[in-house]
């Protein structure tokens, strides 16, 4: 009987571990699946060419950069 309780405890702990891994894997997997195809320079810089943005020749208005800069400061 004691042996059965040991097996139940082991099963419960591993089940919880797999459940958590599955949940986190689903969240991260969904993000990667939907996010990776969008990872291009245009995502960050919009219409502004990379060289112009790097040498501060043109202001970046579109893309994520204007939203990312305040995050870096804070």
């Amino acid at each position: 009987m004691k042996r059965i309780y040991d097996v139940i405890l082991t099963f419960y702990a591993w089940f919880c571990g797999l459940l958590l891994l599955g949940a986190v894997g689903t969240v991260l997997g969904f993000l990667l699946l939907k996010g990776i195809p969008a990872l291009k320079p245009e995502l960050v810089l919009g219409e502004t060419p990379l060289v112009d943005a790097l040498f501060l020749r043109r202001v970046v208005i579109d893309g994520l950069l204007p939203a990312m800069t305040p995050c870096c400061w804070s």
Partner: protein, 291 residues
């Protein structure tokens, strides 16, 4: 005491006082700004069972009930999950796997709430809608599932730390007697780590109570008392966010201070409850292990 010690003592005392003072100042700020709500007639409006600002009803009870329901459900889901993971990490898993799982859980604490929220909107909400064929899927159940995932890392880390604080000598003594992992857990680890378990549980409860984005994005935001797990609901935090975004000077707006006071008192109540339970709790192991 030497002069240097006295200065250090005074400095730390002032810093601790400033921290406590800031917390109290926030409370008094909310009471001060919400003061017009606390005269007799307006206060009665807050106790109404419905939130219908157009008809002059500003009842906050549906939001209090929704918050309590979502927090309770998420804790009921997260506690067994977290305990199982803590047992796996501390007791059962091979060393490399335990270390990897612990790091993953630590990483999870850094995932922003909004990520859980929008993954919930695109993945969990349609799943709940199609599984139960009722409502939009934005419900107490969806919010509770996501909140359970959000608060689990907090609980797991505190549980594992409190398990690790149990004296190794007692565990070795039990091992020498041929005890199984279950016996070590039931007779030494759990009794010795009970304060840590309680601390993790209440800290996670506070986090679930204070979370805004998941409830706002996934719970459905209906300003009525939910009658079941598949009903939409609006929590106190979501109510504050929604009213602040739409209004700035009316009784409706002032009710956000009442919501803030209820949340503040709820969190303070949880902390006081924890202290009272720890003080009263008889420690059967006699270890006196503190979180």
């Amino acid at each position: 005491l030497k002069l240097r010690d006295r200065i250090s003592y005074l400095l730390f005392f002032l810093l601790a006082g400033a921290g406590a003072g800031l917390t109290l100042a926030i409370f008094f700020f909310m009471v001060l700004l919400g003061r017009p709500l606390f005269d007799g007639a307006t206060f009665d409006l807050l106790l109404a069972s419905k939130w219908l600002p157009d008809r002059g009803l500003y009842g906050l009870l549906p939001f209090v009930f929704s918050s309590a329901l979502i927090v309770t459900c998420s804790l009921l889901l997260a506690f067994p999950l977290s305990l199982g993971n803590a047992i796996l990490i501390h007791l059962l898993a091979p060393r490399f796997l335990a270390r990897g799982l612990y790091r993953l859980v630590s990483l999870m604490t850094g995932i922003p709430t909004v990520i859980y929220g929008f993954v919930g909107v695109f993945l969990l909400v349609p799943l709940v809608r199609e599984s139960f064929s009722r409502g939009s899927g934005m419900s107490v159940l969806s919010a509770s599932l996501l909140l359970a995932l959000l608060i689990s890392p907090t609980m797991i880390l505190l549980f594992v730390e409190s398990f690790a604080a149990v004296p190794k000598a007692h565990l070795r003594a039990l091992e020498a007697l041929g005890a199984s992992p279950r016996q070590k857990l039931l007779h030494i680890i759990l009794p010795g780590a009970a304060n840590g378990l309680l601390a993790g549980f209440l800290l996670a409860a506070g986090r679930a109570l204070g979370d805004t984005l998941i409830a706002l994005m996934v719970a459905g935001n209906t300003a009525a008392r939910p009658t079941g797990l598949l009903d939409p609901a609006r929590t106190l935090t979501a109510q504050i966010a929604l009213v602040m975004a739409a209004d700035f000077d009316s009784i409706e707006f002032k009710t956000i201070f009442a919501c803030g006071i209820i949340l503040y008192l709820g969190s303070a109540g949880l902390t006081l409850l924890f202290r009272a339970l720890v003080r009263r709790r008889h420690d059967p192991s006699g270890f006196g292990v503190n979180p």
